[in-house]
């Protein structure tokens, strides 16, 4: 594979006091792929996700975006330079706010003085809800997020990322709070994302879900990457054995 990676982290180490959360980790995301990031609790998956999204700064290591080395100091930079958006298990949405306000949270369309242009935001929200990622059962952007099901919420969060032209989506256990049917839906969104030229990283405990959508698997244990293989070169038994191996 000679193509340039969208994102690459080399020799990343992150310590919390004496605890080594990430130990010399190498991780990359290629264009148009879905990476399954697996491992038991405390393996360092969440720290890696946080590091990539700019919430946590590594103690050591280099980060490359499109082949160029950069420094990411905060969330904003990770969003703007690397085009990364994170979706957490409880979804990055506020229940008490409308869909429209959620879509534009932190990226409000405003006039010079910072007052919001509701008309424009409403138009775009309607567009987001009706094109691209199709979300069943949502008719109006003025609906409160709290009134949606877990799957619909994740769908809104994913649609938002697609609209803002993110290149990489980090999904931290996106399906852990969902019903079986909703899980299928969200997984199908992730597959659809590839068509929109968005790569994603999925953190999950469910290896069957991972096998459904991922192109490559990375298994972590005690802060290290212990296993990495493309889907065609491995099978679910091998990956499972790697995850449960202490």
């Amino acid at each position: 594979m000679n193509q340039i990676n969208l994102y690459e982290a080399k020799n990343i180490t992150k310590k919390y006091g004496n605890l080594i959360a990430l130990d010399d980790v190498n991780f990359h995301i290629a264009p148009n792929e879905v990476v399954g990031l697996l491992g038991d609790n405390g393996a360092g998956k969440s720290t890696l996700i946080k590091m990539m999204s700019g919430v946590v700064e590594p103690n050591k290591g280099n980060i490359f975006v499109d082949g160029n080395e950069i420094k990411i100091k905060n969330r904003k930079e990770s969003e703007e330079i690397a085009g990364i958006e994170t979706i957490y298990q409880n979804s990055a949405l506020c229940d008490d706010m409308t869909i429209m306000r959620n879509i534009f949270m932190g990226r409000e369309i405003t006039n010079y003085f910072g007052f919001m242009n509701f008309k424009k935001m409403d138009e775009i929200s309607t567009e987001v809800l009706t094109t691209g990622i199709e979300i069943a059962g949502i008719d109006s952007p003025s609906k409160e997020i709290g009134a949606l099901s877990g799957g619909q919420k994740q769908a809104v969060a994913i649609a938002r990322a697609v609209y803002f032209k993110r290149k990489i989506l980090l999904l931290d256990e996106p399906t852990s709070a969902l019903s079986v049917r909703e899980t299928e839906k969200v997984l199908s969104y992730v597959t659809d994302l590839k068509k929109e030229n968005v790569s994603s990283v999925i953190v999950t405990h469910n290896l069957y879900h991972a096998f459904q959508v991922c192109d490559r698997f990375v298994v972590m244990s005690h802060g290290k990457v212990v296993f990495e293989k493309n889907k065609q070169d491995t099978n679910i038994e091998e990956v499972t054995a790697q995850v449960i191996k202490v």
């Binding site: 999204s53 919430v55 969330r75 904003k76 969003e79 994170t86 957490y88 409880n90 979804s91 990055a92 949405l93 506020c94 229940d95 008490d96 706010m97 306000r101 534009f104 949270m105 932190g106 990226r107 409000e108 405003t110 003085f113 910072g114 007052f115 919001m116 509701f118 409160e144």
Partner: protein, 323 residues
Amino acid sequence: MKTFLDNLRTKSAGGIIILFVSIQVIAILGGLLFPDNFRYLLPANIAVLLKSMAPLGIMAIGVGILMITGEFDLSVGILYSFCAIVTATMVKEYNLSPYLAMLIGILVGITAGLIHGNIVNKFTIPSFIVTLGAMLLWKGGTLLYHGSKSLRYKYESESYEILLKGDIGVVDASFIWFILVGIIFYFILHHHKIGNHFYAVGGNSEAATAIGINPKRVKLIAFAIAGGCAALSGVVAMSRVGSVQPAGGLGLELEAIAACVIGGCALMGGRGSIIGIMLGTALIYTIQDLLLLLRAPGFYFDMFVGGLIVLAAITNVALRKRL
């Protein structure tokens, strides 16, 4: 009709609007039916009612915005007294213009808010605890700065008389300040992007962080607003009454929180509205007024407001869950 009710139900001010309108209807009907015994509609009564609600109302708007952001400031009551005393001292001892003095008083309030916010942010301690400490600290500070005597404040100036002590018919100048503050913060909370961030941080701080909002900065702004509003309410009240008591504002912080809760603000943040907070304040004073008119003893007021808080909280939850 159904969509209208549905609309009302999902708005955080829905419960308070229904409650407020029903109580007004009953009171007005009572006033019309028994004009001699129940003088609700008498201009003098309306004037007193409007006059009384401004200080708490202005304070509650700041407290409410902070609550929507997910934090508390228990020191607003004592800041109300402290900032008013600072303002009065500036005028009396340093011969400053009352407007400049007022500005200084408000700046002191804002600074206090910023200090509280910074401590909360820096040490990640619950704001309830930080501001509980701050309340006692400011209380002692007020006594240290001024002593326990009440302070008379009179400033002879035509414009000041009109702007802070005048009235238009039954409408007192302080009530106009209340409405003005309400309108300004309505636009900030509901139409400005910082308002959106207040809701985001209070509703789901993690989500706000994930999307690139800095919750600490947003909270700091909310703390500053709460401090500034507390100071303004103190100055407005002092100007109207003509004096200030060093401990006069103590306890107002809880009444302000009560007004916010009655007005539909969620205690843990993320929900609330300016109109709700204003009506919550108005409702507290309407009930006080009704009880006075009915010649009920004073302690009934506390009992009613106490009941009202719980009732309002129940109504808000019930309305959202669909009746």
